[in-house]
Symmetry: C2
Subunit: 424 residues, 2 copies
């Protein structure tokens, strides 16, 4: 690689809202998306919510001349909805399905059936190794009373860990997707602090698009306006995040979003806005790359605080999962008692017919409670796993913090300031 | 690191057969295992089938002075059964739960409820990065008619991919565990060819232990003798596998196994035999590390052949999963029809009571068939994912093969030889 090496990468990301039979104008939108991608000729187009494999196959055929490489990430019952189109050959790909992803009995929300995942692509571009990740985390249906919060934070942690462990030899890391997280949400901070990824919207000098970079905006006719009421400009939940290792420097030259309308005709491509980023990768003098636990004292303090917060969230989730497991455990006990009573009644005559009629519903109750019990046991195990990993990393970050004289000085200064403000 | 750097690693692996209430003499065996590990003071002890977290906590307390670091990998409903004790600090750990792991309705086999997984530990030893993996794949209940073959091959592929993608910056890679695969089984060959891991039993110059390195032997009183009848010496399904990257050289100085008896008293520690390896890591002049698709022509041919075989197995598994999904789809249709008929009969009088009595079982049938349908849809997606990854890597391996003049020469010579033997 030459020392004046420079690489320009044009990236496209969109949550396509492609639910068969349910999403409005799906066929037309997919067609126009294909036309747009062909016209713009990005290096990499990363899509979420392409729930129908037929839609993917249609796009694959249509985009073949411009994007010779493509992949659809299959998982769960329905699929992850993730796919990717690339102008450059894909060297390797794999995926990681999140351990926790909502509840199977919340059928109307449907996330559990999708098998939400993170997909990884390894590309070699002019001798540079690019790890590109695409993901879609669990949806947020009620921000005030979010029953999926613990699952989404656990997913953010699994995503961060997957990136951390699989990108150790990558020169450039890129993560695109619908995180279903606002920029200051715990999951988003955890992901950024642990991986060191930068947010294209916050970093770029040249942004054009929706107000505050929002990716779900009230101007979009497909958006549920009632849900966006508390957010006059909309919400920012889709991201382009990136980082480069020592020896390379990456910056976001431009970032564009659609603004609730199709870039060319009048109707939008999806209920989400598309993100279009131009990234520039250059050589830079090798520097010491800070590992998550070896950043500066300020970074470490932030990391410790966010790890603590996530740990507490996992703990809360575990308590809830265990409560449900205990509750269904009692229901199972009661169901067994009822069944024994019905058997006795059926054998003894008298209300025999009623007893026989009630027998099957109580077996049903027993089996249903059993299934929910098993599910929440599994949920508790999944959360406990995330909590153990968080606790370990928290311990290590604290150790590094305690050993570092700079941190001690920062702590001392912080204490002095605290004392002063208390005195005042 | 000094050029004459050398590191000796003593590794212990055992499938502990620790099923609460079912495994014989569990408490006594766990106690003796703790005593043995304390006495031998290995660098790393990797255990499988520690199903009870109480057993892990007991061992943790007992081993604390000798093995200050420990971790239990939680997953599934019951747990992965995997845990590790280390003399050295564990820098990082994470885990990957296999997408496919048997069938929930095969309750008597129970694998599905365990959430079989691979655990990863990152250790820093004298400046060297060691990635240690511990795993346990789906059991084989009937070698002649193995309904879990596709799942086990998919697990072997996921394991190989997880190691491949997470060990790119490791100096030394170590994999221990119960693979439930004989040395020449497809899954074992796939794992070795794709990761480049070496088998301690085949590599060591100094082996002492059971005949042919078997890890389930007829001498062991806990082993089901009938199952081992076709294998007079027993079977080898537990492994210590390793590799080092360029710049390092790793060899297995000694390998010991138990031989169906406790190393000190008369009864064995488990129904499996323990593996004890002494590995030696040294500096070596940096060489070109062959990537899976860039080995020599012979390696590449072997890789292509095993990838093809695994692809075919996934294809077969997918056909079967889809057959089940279609079958249960028909059952659902029939159930709906029956339900409609029963509703009509109940409304019309006549056999009203019978209709009401049959209503609940048919709803049960419908729900049961629905659950099995969803499960097999998910299974087909999981197998299809593995097949797509295998197909991609097969394509890349073939490309590399076609581009390489050496491979062409090998192919030409092979063809000539083939022609000659045909002529004879």
């Amino acid at each position: 690689m030459k020392p004046n090496f420079s690489l320009r990468l044009r990236i496209f990301n969109l949550n396509c809202w492609g639910i068969p039979y349910l999403s409005k104008h799906r066929g037309d939108r997919v067609k126009r998306l294909g036309d747009f991608l062909n016209m713009e000729s990005f290096d990499l187009a990363l899509l979420e919510e392409v729930w129908s494999e037929q839609d993917f196959q249609y796009l694959r055929q249509k985009l073949l001349p411009t994007y010779p490489a493509a992949h659809y990430f299959r998982s769960g019952v329905i699929g992850s909805g993730l796919c990717v189109f690339s102008k450059h050959p894909i060297q390797e790909f794999t995926q990681h399905v999140y351990t926790l992803n909502g509840y199977p009995y919340m059928i109307h929300h449907g996330d559990w059936f999708c098998g939400k995942a993170v997909g990884l692509l390894v590309l070699h571009l002019s001798g540079l190794v690019l790890n590109a990740y695409v993901t879609h985390l669990h949806a947020e249906y009620n921000r005030q009373k979010d029953i999926y919060l613990a699952h989404r934070v656990a997913q953010a942690w699994e995503l961060a860990q997957f990136i951390h462990h699989t990108s150790k030899k990558a020169d450039v890391v890129l993560l695109c997707g619908d995180l279903n997280l606002h920029p200051k949400d715990l999951g988003c901070r955890l992901l950024k602090e642990w991986t060191g990824l930068h947010d294209a919207y916050l970093e770029t000098q040249d942004f054009k698009g929706s107000e505050e970079g929002c990716t779900m905006v009230p101007e979009n006719c497909y958006v549920n306006q009632r849900e966006l009421q508390p957010f006059p400009f909309g919400i920012r939940i889709d991201y382009v995040l990136y980082k480069a290792v020592s020896g390379f420097y990456i910056s976001c030259k431009t970032l564009r979003t659609t603004t609730g309308r199709d870039p060319h005709s009048g109707t939008p491509l999806s209920d989400h806005e598309a993100l279009m980023a131009t990234l520039c990768v250059r050589h830079s003098p090798p520097q010491h790359t800070p590992s998550p636990t070896h950043g500066g004292p300020a970074e470490r303090s932030r990391l410790i605080s966010v790890l603590k917060e996530a740990w507490a969230e996992m703990d809360l989730g575990m308590a809830q999962a265990r409560w449900w497991a205990t509750f269904t455990g009692y229901v199972i006990g009661l169901g067994l008692l009822l069944l024994a009573l019905l058997c006795a009644l059926a054998a003894g005559g008298g209300v025999r017919e009623v007893a026989i009629m009630l027998w099957t519903p109580s077996v049903g109750l027993l089996l249903g409670a059993g299934a929910i019990y098993l599910f929440h046991m599994q949920e508790a195990k999944g959360l406990s796993r995330a909590r153990a990993e968080l606790q370990h990393m928290l311990g290590r970050a604290r150790e590094a913090h305690d050993l570092d004289p700079e941190s001690q000085a920062a702590l001392f200064l912080g204490q002095q300031e605290g004392d002063r403000s208390e005195e005042q």
